[in-house]
């Protein structure tokens, strides 16, 4: 139950630097999710906080303690691992109570806390089983129980759900969220799944190649991505990114398709500027199937290449200026390949990025 702060933290393996001096402040009781593609340094960062990796440069504070040179056992943190990392030769009860026993707590206290943790996670009936006799979901629960039982300063989760099947993953995701409401503690959670990040986080940290790209609430990173990487990483299906130039207050795509520069972005652009237009599939719908013309909109005429039925909506694959893009049809009707549909684009939700740097025009 402490804040965690990283100051210019870097990690190198030999000459190869994998985390490049990142700064991050995690508030007391905050749920922070580190998200990014594999190899972006998110797990390494978490393991440095845990003390399982040495910190090459910079400082990590947990609470008001500098923990750089403290071994994991002295940092008073709990960690849930991707592979559960249960102790295979101990039954569930001993797995849960191990940390307390090592800390020298009397047996009655251990028993009491184990009972509590097991009740919170609904694993009371499994107490005498060994990990080999548990299913994936049950193992995950035991691993979480082992983490909450010690009442640590912070929880660290290292891709805890990636070994579970899709259905169980969604279920456990909700349970982690509920658990955090119940057991108020600082949480650092690593995942490569942006849906997990969006649903769980108070704040999301998006990482790429050992750098932090953006830190913000889920709404901030979704609505105001600072660059094309964040834009394409957060949100599913991903944002459509199409290169264009600005000319006379208009965005001109390579095939001469034109739409007006949104009013709120007009001051950030100038004539002849090379940009990348970002449109989320939700903001590009066939006329009459989603976006109303009340706001600032533009119209396009596009040919359906493929339609994916999802029930409440249909994903439409089409081509804009020679590039494959996706739109969404809400309240769907049947469409067939090759059909030409009028689309409406919500300009007030359109994003513009600088073509050279990839950064949002609002940020530069």
């Amino acid at each position: 139950m402490s804040s965690i702060s990283l100051k210019k933290v870097a990690k190198s393996y030999g000459r190869l630097e994998v985390v490049h001096g990142i700064d991050l402040d995690i508030a007391h009781n905050e749920f922070v999710v580190l998200v990014g593609p594999s190899g972006c340094g998110k797990s390494t960062t978490l393991r440095m906080i845990a003390g399982l990796e040495e910190i090459t440069e910079g400082e990590i504070h947990i609470g008001d303690r500098l923990v750089n040179d403290l071994p994991p056992r002295k940092r008073n943190i709990s960690m849930v691992f991707q592979n559960y990392a249960l102790y295979p030769h101990m039954n569930v009860r001993d797995n849960l109570g191990f940390g307390l026993k090592i800390a020298g707590q009397p047996q009655e206290v251990v028993d009491e806390r184990v009972r509590e943790a097991a009740a919170i996670l609904g694993i009371s009936e499994l107490m005498d089983r060994i990990p080999a006799e548990l299913s994936g979901g049950q193992r995950q629960r035991v691993a979480m129980g082992r983490a909450i039982i010690r009442d640590p300063e912070a929880f660290l989760f290292d891709e805890p759900l990636s070994n579970l099947d899709a259905k169980l993953r969604v279920q456990m995701r909700t349970e982690i969220k509920k658990l955090h409401h119940k057991v108020k503690t600082t949480v650092v959670y690593v995942t490569h799944d942006q849906v997990e990040a969006m649903t769980l986080a108070d704040r999301i940290v998006i990482m790429k190649d050992g750098h932090i790209e953006q830190v913000g609430t889920p709404m901030e990173v979704f609505n105001h991505p600072v660059n094309t990487f964040v834009a394409s990483f957060i949100g599913s299906p991903p944002m459509n990114l199409v290169p264009a130039t600005v000319a006379g207050g208009q965005i001109v795509l390579s095939d001469e398709t034109r739409m007006p520069v949104p009013r709120r972005l007009a001051s950030y652009t100038h004539d002849g500027m090379a940009v990348i237009v970002g449109i989320r599939p939700d903001d590009m719908t066939p006329v009459g199937h989603g976006i109303h013309d009340s706001g600032e909109t533009a119209n396009l005429s596009l040919t359906v290449e493929l339609a994916e039925l999802l029930g409440t909506e249909t994903l439409i694959y089409t081509r804009l200026a020679g590039q494959e893009v996706q739109g969404k049809m809400f309240d769907p009707r049947d469409v067939h390949e090759g059909e030409r549909l009028p689309f409406r684009v919500a300009l007030d939700k359109l994003h513009l990025f600088d073509a050279a740097s990839g950064r949002s025009v609002r940020a530069t």
């Binding site: 003390g51 399982l52 994991p72 056992r73 030769h89 080999a132 660290l156």
Partner: protein, 325 residues
């Protein structure tokens, strides 16, 4: 006759004592029933000749006063007299106890040393492969040769050990390694440990290689210092591997003969006599094969007891091996 789901014919038993064409017809009609018997026959015959018949033969001889020099004595049945005599024989029980002691010391020392070696080699990153090979050298020698080698190392007059001790000024007189009863036992155990520690080292090293890293990291986060990690996580994980080594070695040590025969031949005054040197002496030198076989039966039970003990431990430990990941 009923055809069962397995395609085997089940019917009333055929009348016995069929001969000639009747027998052939019987075989033809019951081919499917005979097939498994025919397929298993080689295995059954092998077991019969290799295991069952020698066992039966030695069991019979242990119930006779059979002497190698007087073959006709094999036909005299004397019941359990050999066994009764053994139960009153103090020398035999001394050798029995000494064998258990020998087993216990050798296995424990080998386990501890093997564990240390495995843990050290596991830490090495450069030259690990070569060290693993070098570690196995002692296993490449015949126990007889190892026995001779240590006989000369421990020799009180010309032995290199006494020579070294005296040159270094640690002692000024020759230590009678193989003549003093206690030291002789120590010397034999030393040779045995030198030869076989690598069995433990190799199997425990295999265990360390197979060990998942996550539980160790989890334990470190859970508050364990390095010793506690080893004590509560690494060691329990390695125990099945140790039990495999113990099972193999308990059979080896329980039949220890060659090294002892070469180094001391049970001497001085029977102070290093183990079960098998005693059995060999009784059977071949004194030619009392009936008595020797009775001893062998009792020592086989000892072997089985040790092996069974380690095997149950192994089975119990293996239960959780699947839950590591």
């Amino acid at each position: 006759m009923i055809e069962t789901a397995r395609g085997r014919a089940v019917g009333p038993a055929p009348p016995l004592r069929r001969r000639g064409p009747d027998l052939i017809r019987y075989i033809r009609t019951h081919q499917t029933r005979l097939t498994p018997v025919l397929l298993l026959a080689p295995a059954i015959l092998t077991m019969l000749f290799v295991v069952a018949m020698p066992l039966a033969f030695s069991l019979w001889t242990s119930l006779t006063p059979y002497r190698l020099t007087r073959p006709e004595t094999i036909e005299t049945f004397i019941g359990l007299r050999n066994y009764i005599r053994l139960f009153q024989d103090e020398d035999f029980w001394a050798a029995f106890g000494r064998t258990i002691l020998f087993l216990a010391i050798a296995l424990n020392v080998e386990f501890l040393l093997g564990l240390c070696i495995a843990l050290l080699i596991n830490k090495i990153t450069w030259g690990q492969r070569m060290l693993r090979t070098i570690m196995m050298f002692p296993m490449m020698f015949s126990p007889i040769l190892v026995g001779f080698q240590f006989k000369f190392i421990f020799n009180d007059n010309i032995g290199i050990l006494n020579n070294a001790l005296q040159s270094l000024g640690i002692t000024d007189q020759a230590i009678a390694w193989l003549v003093d009863g206690r030291l002789a036992m120590f010397s034999i155990i030393f040779a045995e440990v030198w030869m076989s520690t690598s069995v433990f080292a190799i199997l425990l090293l295999a265990g360390l290689f197979a060990m998942p890293r996550d539980p160790i990291e989890a334990a470190r986060v859970d508050g364990c210092n390095p010793w506690q990690v080893f004590r509560h996580i690494t060691l329990p994980f390695l125990m099945p591997f140790a039990f495999i080594a113990m099972t193999i070695r308990s059979l080896d040590v329980a039949r220890a003969y060659d090294i002892v025969a070469v180094m001391t031949d049970g001497g001085p005054a029977g102070r290093t006599e183990l079960l098998w040197t005693m059995i060999a002496r009784t059977g071949y030198e004194n030619a009392r094969m009936g008595q020797a076989n009775a001893m062998a039966y009792i020592s086989t039970i000892l072997s089985i007891a040790f092996t069974y003990y380690f095997f149950t431990k192994l089975v119990a430990a293996r239960r959780y091996m699947g839950g590591a990941e």
